[in-house]
Symmetry: C2
Subunit: 204 residues, 2 copies
């Protein structure tokens, strides 16, 4: 049989790349793809549901998981931990479902070391000009915040060389199409088909 285990897909992209919108469209059209829910030690905001928006853990619970190798990746921002619990991701993949993580570049690089057969996709804005335009359109941000985000975007884009695929988000539906195709094509990768080759050869 072909490898029935699901894929692990890691999605990153700078603020303003529109990766959230692309991801939403991708999830709507791909029934076998599930978004991994992150864990965090920050307090739930109003309306946030445990297990849906985040798994809300205490600092002790989170650090226990780190010690017991229970986190695929994690980082600490503003005094709170954020991370991807291994268990639910593994369960879904073993059930044949593809799992997608939307995470920062640093977390993605942690996963690259642990899961070399994951697929790493980076969402790019069509240009820095367009990125600046998108960030400026968010009326809530002042010039200083925009400049900071532009700098952060450049730092992230510098890391994009380490991803497997670069998808330009010019038109959202096209970017979602490309992501969907990338995921489908991985099912024919030799890594994924190894068991099938083994079986054909045992067969002879």
């Amino acid at each position: 049989m072909r490898n029935s285990k699901g894929l692990l897909v890691v999605l990153s992209g700078p603020s303003g790349s529109g990766k959230g919108t692309v991801l939403k469209e991708l999830l709507a059209r791909n029934d076998n793809l599930f978004l991994s829910v992150s864990a965090t030690t920050r307090s739930p905001r109003e309306g946030e549901v445990n297990g849906k928006h985040y798994y809300f853990l205490s600092k002790d619970e989170f650090e226990d998981k780190i010690r017991n190798d229970g986190m695929l990746e994690y980082a600490s921002y503003c005094g709170n931990y954020y991370g991807t619990p291994k268990e639910t991701v593994a369960e879904m993949m073993n059930a044949g479902k593809d799992v997608i993580l939307e995470i920062e570049v640093q977390g993605a690089m942690q996963i690259k070391e642990k899961c070399p057969d994951a697929v790493f996709i980076f969402i790019m804005p069509p240009s820095m000009n367009e990125l600046k335009h998108r960030l400026s359109d968010r009326r809530t941000e002042d010039a200083e915040t925009i400049a900071k985000r532009m700098k952060a975007a450049v730092d992230e884009i510098r890391m994009s060389y380490r991803y497997d695929y670069i998808v330009i988000n010019d038109v959202v539906s096209k970017a979602a199409d490309t992501l969907d195709e990338i995921i489908r094509v991985q099912k024919s990768s030799t890594l994924h088909m190894k068991e099938f080759i083994d079986e054909v050869l045992e067969d002879e």
Copy 2:
């Protein structure tokens, strides 16, 4: 700009895998994909056209090309040379066209060393039983020839681990769909998008 150079696609598969039929269907549906014409020193058979079926070269011409690094890969069978001339492949790729080579495993491995950014696809029969069935259906072959081809197929399939993708040819149109998708998706590979990332970063 995105990398405008075409892709090099290398297709292999054992006799009976149906790779010729899949390739024909793929070429019919993909306007930007061109089949590379091999060179050979064997004599043209009736109806064979120089430059269409093969480039027919003299032994001296072929050996000159080998000496001048003019062959992407070559091999000798039954006293004749067969190979892929570099020049036409490079011209098409520089013009933005994707080029596909249908070659044996040994030739494919020569190309893997010279062109690490080529895509290597191996067409597999659904099973050894089905392969045997397909080879036996060719009424012209006797039992000994079939046994030889089965052994050759096993040897080739053992090399399939070194390809990038394994496409099972169960239904021809589906296999052609998968090949088409694999080729399309390569345009988003980081290798292919490197120039675009460079430019976005220079832009800032």
